[in-house]
Symmetry: C2
Subunit: 368 residues, 2 copies
């Protein structure tokens, strides 16, 4: 695994070389993790100097989610408790005679950036921008296999919930049980706060579980995800409680299912992100649900649960093979509830069979 990180750091150096030969200071934790493997909280990575160095405010391994940083990487533990590793890295770069340091201006605060400047006045601070996020956009098969495991775990946790008694239990308890089951099946933890919405709360994006109890005839919508070795997936389903769904529930579920399928079928290498969004959104628009639709119908997943690309009307950019995304259209009718269907898929060329569905729990309108 170690050489994977070295290769990733090489690509950062290539970006820097193309951008005028700066040394890069990676401070955004998820980017440090991508380039160094697990790292202690607050650690920063200096790439492209005399050697790549991971600067840590606390001992490696002590608080890392799992394992230790890439052994091929020199790590330096700061002596002073509370010292800012980014400031120490700037000092180290200056001591190595580095002239310009590329920093993550979308992560560093103004205050920290000033501290870097004052510890190394001769150092020119330039913007690395989202260079590491861009490297993270297309996943390797190692990363995709972590997402696949994460999706299996989420499917298992959801499947077990469906077999249990639901009527009378609160949204809060169902969410907690799902999170416990995620961990039981080997997740690091939930990929994001599990959302359980019943009755009028169903179909809302990112609904925070309340004390409302499941009732006969309710829509029940669940959105959960597992984090496995840091990789995060997402699955959302909507069911009905009791034996026979009402007509409006069947119609709404059919509609959202059709929108979600249209989105999934639009996932191909080279497809414009906005076109994928349009494919799903158009189905809901033309059924008269244009108002109150969520701003996104999907997003990338990986080390973050919400990363590039965005599937939205104004999104720029195109999809690539090996980019994992969610497709999650939904409709919520205030006071009545709604439907949300959410899968995690990996974009694959048609020659390879098209999009790879990671979350395989059925999308039928089950009556529980």
């Amino acid at each position: 695994m170690s050489e994977v990180y070295a290769v990733r750091r090489e690509r950062v150096k290539e970006r820097c070389a193309a951008g005028g030969g700066a040394v890069a200071l990676i401070s955004r934790p998820v980017n440090v993790r991508y380039l160094a493997g697990t790292a202690p909280q607050g650690a920063v990575l200096l790439v492209g100097g005399d050697e790549d160095v991971l600067l840590c405010g606390r001992p490696p391994g002590e608080q890392a989610e799992e394992g230790r940083p890439d052994e091929a990487l020199r790590t330096r533990l700061l002596p002073a408790a509370g010292a800012d590793p980014a400031v120490a890295a700037a000092g180290l770069a200056a001591a190595q005679g580095v002239e310009s340091l590329a920093v993550e201006e979308h992560h560093l605060t103004v205050a920290r950036h000033r501290a870097l400047g004052s510890v190394a006045p001769g150092l020119r601070l330039v913007d690395l921008g989202g260079a590491v996020e861009q490297l993270r956009y297309v996943k390797d098969e190692e990363e995709i296999s972590c997402l696949r495991v994460a999706a299996e775990i989420a499917d298992q946790a959801l499947g077990e919930l469906l077999e249990s008694i639901l009527v009378g239990r609160t949204e809060r308890h169902l969410a907690l049980e799902l999170e416990r089951r995620l961990v039981d099946h080997g997740a690091d933890g939930p990929a994001f706060p599990t959302s359980v919405g019943t009755g009028p709360n169903s179909g809302k994006g990112a609904h925070r579980p309340s004390d409302r109890r499941v009732e006969e005839g309710d829509f029940l919508s669940v959105c959960l995800g597992a984090s496995y070795r840091g990789y995060r997936c997402e699955i959302g389903r909507t069911f009905v409680i009791g034996t026979s769904p009402a007509d409006w529930q069947i119609e709404l579920h059919d509609l959202v299912f059709a929108a979600q399928r249209a989105g999934r079928e639009a996932l191909l290498p080279g497809a414009a992100c906005r076109d994928v969004d349009h494919a799903a959104r158009h189905v809901l628009d033309s059924a008269g649900y244009a108002d109150g639709l969520p701003p996104l119908t999907g997003h990338g997943v990986g080390l973050e649960i919400d990363e590039d690309p965005q599937l939205a009307p104004s999104a720029m950019g195109k999809l690539d093979a090996c980019v994992p995304v969610t497709v999650e259209p939904g409709v919520h009718l205030p006071g009545r509830g709604g439907v949300r269907i959410d899968d995690t898929l990996v974009v694959r060329p048609e020659a390879d069979g098209g999009p790879e569905l990671l979350t395989i729990t059925t999308k039928e309108l089950l009556a529980l």
Copy 2:
């Protein structure tokens, strides 16, 4: 409750007036919450212009932890999805003829700060620094009563765990059960990831629960906290599993207990934070445990689980009445385990009986 927020915003305006009459842009979420009540994710607060305005990227209430923002506050929902409320606030300030805008440079990233500057070139951006954090340092009785409830919830969850069978269960499961019980008893959720350490893992600060199972003769150390209406408390205890603790366990527990008591007894208005730390640390130092002690022996709590003051050797500043802090010394012996004892207290003058203990679960070395 509404006037509480108005009064807090008045105090921000006084700071700004003293600092040259800037209008303040509050972007740090916990500070926005302090001044506006609950607010949607990403909302920012403009204080001291024509009127105080809460600028939101999404509808108020939709994702707020509970309730809605202060009704006395004008809220403005941004039309464009994904627009940065801080940038919109800068534009609004400029449109009001504001000359200088005080921003939270310890929170705004370099990239966002630049975006503010470019949307309002005529606007002088100055640093508000930690002005709101300073206001948050001393709590009002309303805030303290939330902390008191949070502590009661944590005591209840811990008390129930002690009555259950522990041998053979994993750290992970005990942590999850504690978090479920916190929610059962009315917590918003855990104040921080619950830490359960058994055997060699006991007594570590912020130990991430593993799959190790509780065994006879183990030390079991637990650190948990509840969040109630956003206010976060912390309690940590160490127990022994089985009937008779070993001598070294009794001695180590007595020592940490003595250090923790010394720290608690040093909590008085006007006491230097470093002296409180020294009171606890000295007991451990003089017993030969100088090495490997945690950098802090306590910290402030409130809307954040770790806020000012810090109880550390190099900490500046003094305590005040109505400042809630933790006192949490610990000793961990690599390979053997250790003891950590952690309370949340409120600093009170001696005339009022001295420090108010919020977490009341016994600190004896119980054999479970």
